[in-house]
């Protein structure tokens, strides 16, 4: 049982809370974990990624070998493509479709989404809009995590419990909203499976 996951996004988009939730759930299940993060210069609005590895066996490398990731979970569509060299031939791309445009030469979004759709396995969803509709604009990353949940080796209840644990300090209302966002994302993935 193992998942090698590339988390992708732009500095400041909160990919580390996705990692924290998967990590909490995995460790609660007694799994091993290694998670390489990006700190420093790139956090100023540059591209950021995290290699998250969970396994019931000891993990050697902090970095996922190229061509071996089980999935790319991305909070930003163009960023999901940047890590294709890491994705295994039967891996999944799970990405938000709302672009984060902070560069003058951001490609045409239609073309970006076309390439996502050319991947053998993908889930695409507009996490920003979905989160707004749930009146929880900040939970876009929970939506994309929900969409990835059917492909994780972690039971969904465990993820929900981890969300409750991570956001517990912020009160029940915040927990409920994030779990709602998680479920909404999951539904999209289940329907498109």
């Amino acid at each position: 049982m193992k998942n090698d996951i590339i988390l992708a996004g732009v500095g400041g988009q909160g990919i580390l809370s996705i990692a924290a939730i998967i990590g909490l759930a995995a460790v609660d299940m007694g799994m091993h974990l290694k998670q390489a993060e990006v700190h420093g210069m790139s956090q100023r609005g540059g591209d950021v990624q995290s290699h998250l590895r969970i396994s019931d066996e000891e993990i050697a490398s902090d970095l996922i070998p190229k061509g071996c990731a089980d999935m790319i979970i991305s909070v930003e569509p163009m960023e999901s493509l940047r890590y294709l060299p890491w994705l295994s031939p039967d891996g999944y791309v799970i990405t938000n479709t709302t672009p984060f445009v902070n560069i003058p030469n951001y490609p045409e979004i239609g073309k970006v989404l076309d390439i996502v759709q050319q991947q053998p396995h993908y889930v695409m969803l507009d996490c920003d809009t979905m989160a707004k509709e749930l009146e929880s604009a900040k939970s876009a990353n929970m939506v994309v995590l929900g969409a990835a949940s059917p492909f994780l080796c972690i039971p969904f209840e465990r993820l929900e419990a981890a969300v409750a644990k991570l956001f517990g300090k912020k009160g029940d209302a915040v927990v409920a909203l994030n779990i709602k966002a998680l479920n909404a994302g999951r539904q999209v993935a289940l329907n498109s499976k």
């Binding site: 990590g23 974990l33 100023r44 902090d62 970095l63 190229k66 294709l84 560069i103 490609p107």
Partner: protein, 538 residues
């Protein structure tokens, strides 16, 4: 106790806390910053009142740690690799004085230059200084070896270097804590001359240091951190240092390498273990994160005899960090690779935050200086270095902390007028003060902009020693009162700021202009905290 998920940096900090340190001394620098921040946020550290505030720079940090060691207590100093250049003087000389209380110096290297100007390998420094070095390969080792480092330092009375690289510093994994040691009591050195490096004494101390090397090598053989694992296929023998060992193992699903493997995590190198590998194997492959230090030593100057493969013969890339794929190729295993990056993916370099005060400063400076020929703005290291990129294209240099002012002075000495320096507040107190003193003493015609955003922005917003002190420092150094100006870098102040900068560019002496407005990130953080406290109050 359950395992905790810790970054490599945090594991070191926890290891140091549990080893009974009385203080950590550091200046921020990626990838070492989180070590000190972990101690700053630690409840235990607060309860024990451990020293954990930032130092002005790495040199003052290491000297502080050395003073704590002199007093018999355990001290940790932490810095990024280029910080060790700044601290080189106390580092090399602390090997000659030796330690009293345990002294561990963390050098965090950044191969592939994720957030740095170069990728120097700190193991060269420790070898040069005759300081034993530990190179953990994972987070648990980072914790354990930090503790071991303090014991080793006290046993041999030498400082110990703990060398890590970015990947370990910023990667998280489960760490098992062990018992907590009490702090040492104050106990001054038995030999009152131990720390007095007058030549006659230094010569003696240096001989002692050289004598300690045999014992330190014996430690490298016996500590258990360097391991020899035998295997049947002796056509190849592998030396894997620190993190490189993980990348080697990643390539064997059952973690069984068919060749003998010598894992190196402690230096000086354990010669008998290397000799065994040499005697038994036809070819040696050296895997090390950083520069080919071990490879060069094994190869010798003429590289005669046994074939040694590594970074020098092209088996591995000459620069940059390693990864499992690079190691696979070096082993002759099939490489794995997914689809290529689609062409439309644009690069997304880091940039100044929206609303950053540096933007307004550069807009004014660019306009003021437009009438002169280009290429006269010497800058420094910090968020404002991003002013080198479009759309600003505002600066022409970034070399080492403090270099802006002294380079501007040197160019002015050469006849370049106007000549401008741009330096951040934290960089100014790190290394710019003495540079400015040089300019004042020589009455150099330079204009210095000290961009005061009230924080150390680049590394995540740590407190800056400069806060509230810049004007007084400049006056104290002898900058003329009439040529010290404070500006508010805001779009609505553009014309006024432009006028001041344009005027001072024409002044044939030292001028200091201080654009002062808080970093947007730290400002937002404070607002959020305030809001939270208010909510709690209700």
């Amino acid at each position: 106790m359950q395992k905790q998920l810790l970054l490599g940096d945090e594991a070191i900090a926890q290891g140091a806390l549990d080893a009974g340190i009385s203080g950590v001394y550091a200046y921020p620098g990626t990838p070492s910053t989180e070590i000190t921040e972990y101690v700053q946020h630690s409840k235990e550290a607060r309860e024990k009142n451990l020293h954990c505030t930032w130092s002005a720079n790495e040199k003052t940090a290491l000297e502080g740690a050395l003073g704590m060691s002199y007093s018999g207590k355990r001290a940790l100093a932490a810095m990024k690799h280029v910080g060790l250049n700044v601290a080189a003087d106390p580092f090399i000389n602390s090997a000659i004085t030796g330690a009293n209380g345990g002294l561990v110096v963390v050098a965090a290297d950044d191969p592939s230059m994720h957030s740095s100007q170069d990728e120097q390998d700190s193991r060269f420094f420790s070898k040069f200084a005759f300081i034993p070095t530990l190179e953990p390969g994972n987070q648990q080792e980072a914790y354990d070896m930090t503790r071991y480092g303090f014991d080793l330092s006290e046993k041999y009375r030498v400082p110990v270097m703990l060398r890590i690289t970015t990947r370990l510093a910023h990667s998280r994994a489960g760490v098992q804590r062990r018992e907590v040691n009490a702090e040492n009591q104050i106990s001054l050195p038995e030999n009152p001359r131990q720390f007095v490096l007058l030549p006659a004494n230094a010569r003696k101390q240096y001989k002692d240091l050289l004598k300690k090397q045999a014992g330190l090598e014996q430690e490298s053989i016996e500590s258990g951190y360097n391991t020899y694992t035998d295997a049947a296929d002796k056509k190849l023998g592998i030396v894997a240092c620190g993190l490189a060992y993980n990348y080697l193992m990643e390539n064997f699903a059952d973690r069984k390498v068919p060749h003998p493997v010598l894992k190196i995590s402690q230096y000086p190198l354990p010669r008998p273990m290397i000799e065994k590998l040499f005697n038994e194997c036809e070819t040696i492959l050296v895997l090390e994160e950083g520069q080919p230090l071990v490879e060069e030593q094994l190869k010798g100057y003429l590289s005669k005899g046994l074939h040694i493969k590594g970074r020098l013969d092209g088996t591995l890339p000459r620069d940059g960090e390693l990864n499992p794929n690079i190691v696979a190729v070096a082993l002759g295993l099939p490489n794995t690779e997914g689809a290529p990056v689609p062409e439309i993916v644009a690069s997304r370099p880091p940039s100044l935050c929206r609303g950053c005060p540096h933007i307004d400063t550069y807009n004014a400076l660019n306009q003021a200086i437009a009438k002169y020929s280009p290429g006269r703005v010497f800058s420094d290291i910090g968020c404002y270095t991003l002013g080198a990129l479009p759309p600003y294209n505002a600066i022409n240099s970034c070399v080492d902390m403090g270099a802006s002012i002294t380079m501007a002075k040197g160019a002015a000495d050469a006849g370049l007028f106007p000549s401008v320096a741009v330096i951040g507040d934290s960089t100014f107190t790190h290394s710019g003060i003495t540079s400015l003193l040089d300019a004042v003493v020589d009455k150099s015609p330079i204009t210095v902009l000290i961009l005061d955003n009230l924080t150390t922005g680049m590394t995540g917003g740590q407190a800056s020693h400069a806060e509230g002190r810049i004007e007084a420092i400049c006056r104290g150094l002898g900058v003329e009162e009439d040529h010290i100006h404070v500006l508010k870098p805001l779009p609505k102040q553009h014309e006024a700021n432009l006028e001041v900068i344009a005027r001072e560019l024409e002044y044939r002496g030292v001028s200091v202009i201080i654009p002062r407005r808080e970093c947007i990130q730290t400002l937002n953080r404070k607002m959020r905290a305030k809001f939270k406290n208010k909510e709690k109050g209700n």
